[in-house]
């Protein structure tokens, strides 16, 4: 490539990156300024803090009020972790098993079943709100973290199944047949032959599910009781709790705390994500 072209492309990419990173930058610098500096008007939106303070972060984490409760985001964060970990693990594991069955142990009607599940990927989630809350009520799971986990597993199953099914379709059928002849059964083949080939798609699905469930607001606000609200709901309540002053620095710190886990996941595993999405058939 000619140097001029290269310069042009890199310049353009750099400009875009800057454009998309600016809000994040504003959030970070604002969260590190104190309220006096924010109010003074000497400090612009983009300027670096005159003196760095971690007080807004501390307040957002453990002191800020949502309504009358002044424990900060901490309890919501814990709720989210307690909800996300089982929901992600269960929905991913079940998606893997579904994908394995739908590609390597097909049965009469399995393709039809798969197309029905695909439907779940595109279904507007508002549709399930009322029936879901009714069913959760019947089982006594309304307003609980367990109920929220079940909702996320059920809703996530469509996408996780799709991911694994499309990946496992690339595993040669002869591999499974060979293992059957060697004496391995359904689970042994899955654990010994299929799982070791699945790392890329597991990374993709785990990241996907983690992001989707961590960022979910709709189900969090509808299905969680007073003690089970996830961080997205907590952040909303914190930012909307009216008090005499609007503490922008605390709001920004709170938003960053809520976003941090997904940011970390992408930074750590982002390259596997892209690699997994583009990974094709399994090489023999």
């Amino acid at each position: 490539m000619k140097p001029l072209h290269r310069l042009l492309i890199h310049g353009l990419l750099g400009a875009f990156a800057l454009f998309f990173l600016t809000p994040l930058y504003v959030m970070v610098v604002t969260s590190l300024k104190d309220m006096d500096e924010l109010r003074s008007g000497t400090s612009g939106l983009l300027s670096l803090p005159a003196s760095i303070t971690l007080a807004p972060w501390l307040k957002a984490w453990s002191q800020a009020c949502t309504g009358t409760d002044c424990r900060g985001l901490q309890p919501y964060f814990v709720n989210s972790v307690v909800m996300v970990v089982p929901a992600v693990l269960i929905s991913t594991a079940m998606g893997a098993i579904n994908g394995y069955v739908l590609t390597q142990w097909r049965f009469r009607g399995s393709d039809f079943m798969f197309s029905l599940m695909l439907f779940g990927v595109f279904m507007p989630l508002q549709v399930v709100l009322l029936p879901m809350s009714q069913v959760l009520g019947w089982f006594g799971l309304a307003d609980s973290i367990v109920g929220l986990v079940i909702v996320h597993v059920l809703v996530g199953l469509a996408s996780t199944t799709l991911f694994f099914r499309n990946y496992y379709i690339g595993i040669p059928a002869e591999l499974i047949k060979a293992a059957m002849l060697d004496g391995a059964g359904f689970w042994r083949i899955f654990v010994r032959i299929v799982l070791p080939l699945s790392t890329p798609i597991f990374v993709v699905t785990l990241i996907w599910q983690f992001t989707a469930i961590w960022n979910d607001f709709l189900f969090g606000v509808v299905f969680s009781g007073a003690d089970a609200k996830p961080i997205t709901v907590g952040l909303n309540n914190l930012a909307n709790t009216s008090s005499s002053v609007k503490e922008y620095n605390v709001d920004m710190a709170a938003a960053l705390i809520a976003a941090l886990p997904t940011l970390v996941v992408y930074v750590v595993a982002g390259k596997y994500f892209v690699r997994g999405l583009t990974a094709g058939a399994v090489k023999g």
């Binding site: 047949k177 060979a178 293992a179 059957m180 002849l181 032959i193 070791p196 090489k283």
Partner: protein
Amino acid sequence: MGALSIRNVHKRFGDTQILKGIDIEIDPGEFLILVGPSGCGKSTLLAMIAGLDEPSSGSIHIGERDVTHALPKDRDIAMVFQSYALYPSMTVAQNIAFALEMRKVPRAQRDEAVARVAKMLQIEHLLARKPAALSGGQRQRVAMGRALARDPKLFLFDEPLSNLDAKLRVEMRAEIKQLHQRTRTTTVYVTHDQVEAMTLGDRIAVMKDGVVQQFGTPDDIYDRPATRFVAEFIGSPAMNLIEGHATAESILAHGVELALPRSLRGAALPGQAVAFGLRPEAITLGAVGQAGHPLPGEIALLEPTGPETYVTLDTAVGKLVARLPGRIAQKLGQRVTLGWETTQVHLFDAASGNRLEAPQGT
């Protein structure tokens, strides 16, 4: 009772008949070839022997046992697949030991089996590698090793050489044959390659459209093909077939009279439409007017292979191919005469394709 017997096996997929009543029985230690063009049902039949598919009707017996509906793992068989199907995440040694591990064979015995097989196949230096780091021929060897480790009752091969280049194919073919001569494990081998069929098989089942056209030794199949299809399928270049009508002592084709040997007189009714078959190597070339060379022709194509020369000739009965030893003196376009060994004439009914033979005792 045989080592493997297949009794009246049918297979239907919807309205399509894939197998139409297969009967095959082989003895312990035999090497059976299933050969035929693609779509003839040979791979389906092998899958049923393996237990990866079930017949619509009929039964399959391994030794004394009816295994028609038994699970693959309960049949005591091992199979080598066309794609080798080596487990990508395991080393060569783990691949070979996997079946033993599944059968809960103790570690020490497994290691012993891996060492024995690796030595037999000369893959000792590859044991720690993953399949992705192996060449095609090495993968083929490992796939055989995996099957050998278990000492199964029955060995199944599904076109195992078709992914290899020509030179390696010949090498591996010889190795498979030597291996069988050493282990004497009853083997079923599916191929579409007639050379593999002829060189490897103790007995060959030639299949077409879900029917066994002929089941016999390679010599039987080559020397006395039961149908016109078998005659054309086995042998390269293929048998020359001349369409004509029978008279009492000859075949009349395109106005040319082709005399029948004494042994074939009475095989066809006068007026019956038949095909007169001659293997390319049965034909000899002579000078114009030479005795014993009844059919004039002109050389249309010369294909020297080194040890032999294939000669395509234009004659009154159509194009015929002769296979002559060494180089030949005749030139392209030269007029010659064709003669043949009358004992090597084959006769087939044009309508049914079946081999015609004279009634016994005439």
